[in-house]
Symmetry: C2
Subunit: 220 residues, 2 copies
């Protein structure tokens, strides 16, 4: 079992501190259910926030993309980054507009990224990225060749300085509002996979494998 991290002044949750989670395992469960992160970095004083996929392997996040990517090139120069993963679980409808909220789980990782140069780690990172997004796909697809590996920049973001924030449960209203005549509760939201759509160029005889037909982000 991993030890909880000690929040730094930068990752200590100041708003709604009762929602803060600093345990590494809890943060990893969130990171493993998500597959899209939002990466923040600054260029000439302007912050940019770019969505991209990621994978986790051990205590590292891996991001990848073209060697021409502005984001990855900035990250490669060692600028500070922030990687945020958010899972939205529901809309919380209180009696008062003021107490409306969201149920969510989010993780914020601060740090600097480094390009993965080692060939074995690069393969492992690409495998982790693929398996993180579609478990089973690495063995089911044509794996990267040398040309593709050279065209791909893989960045490692160590999960060192991080915090997570979680809200669950029903709305919490002010005592005098409980008699207000309206419905209150939670509308749960879930990212659900719909029926797979075969590539029009796919031979009709090729059936979708179980990792495609039963795709779900929910971890049991």
């Amino acid at each position: 079992m991993a030890l909880p991290s000690t929040p730094t002044v930068r990752t200590r949750v100041t708003r709604e501190p009762q929602r803060a989670v600093y345990e590494r395992e809890a943060a990893y469960r969130i990171l493993d259910e998500g597959f899209i992160c939002h990466v923040g970095f600054s260029l000439e004083g302007q912050p940019f926030v770019i969505p991209t996929s990621y994978g986790r392997a051990g205590d590292n996040l891996y991001l990848h993309g073209s060697v021409a990517s502005r984001m990855l090139r900035a990250m490669k120069e060692g600028v500070p980054v922030c990687v945020t993963v958010t899972l939205v679980d529901g809309l919380v409808l209180a009696r008062s507009v003021f107490n409306h909220s969201m149920n969510y789980r989010s993780v914020v990782v601060l740090g600097r990224a480094a390009a993965v140069e080692d060939s074995a780690e690069k393969t492992e990172a690409l495998r982790a990225l693929t398996e993180h997004i579609v478990p089973g796909r690495w063995a089911g697809a044509r794996q990267p060749n040398e040309r593709e590996r050279k065209a791909t920049l893989v960045m490692r973001v160590p999960i060192t300085e991080f915090s997570a924030k979680v809200r669950t449960g029903p709305p919490i209203d002010d005592e005098e509002d409980y008699s207000f005549p309206t419905w209150a509760g939670v509308i749960p939201l879930e990212m659900v996979a719909q029926t797979p759509v075969p590539d029009p160029k796919l031979d009709r005889g090729v059936a979708a494998p179980s990792y495609v037909r039963k795709y779900s982000r929910r971890k049991t």
Copy 2:
């Protein structure tokens, strides 16, 4: 019909430029389907990316939160911000790992935020935020009183400098990979509302209104 915006050097899409969208209306459709944005801002050289809800009214995005929020206080000081909204539509499984992709729609807005001080605009912004997230709820809930309005900071982000990026459709493989023996296609993903969960403190006689029972982010 709104005119397309002219991309600046900061918002011109450099990677996969064929996915770029600069039309205001197309960007607004994405902003109106989403309800969670990721806000980027820098403090002492460290970028932070924080998820929060938003509303759109005309050519402005509105964000809100506690007057004690670190993010909102930073925004209020006029630092440059980036507001990114991402809708994930599907996983794109190509024959080669290298050509795997996502179907998505995203909007990036750059600029500076300003606190909404005018009382009428503040009410309108809070209404827009509520209606953006749960259409019908503003009239169905107890609206903010003076104390709550004072405790709430509302920020306006003008949608001036922005770009959108969209990928749709099947995988695109290298010609020589089409014979690779695997399934290829798209796993569509959708944020779906599940059965509403009434607040345990709610009188059992109160039925969920139609805007709760039929909640959907999909715009028809």
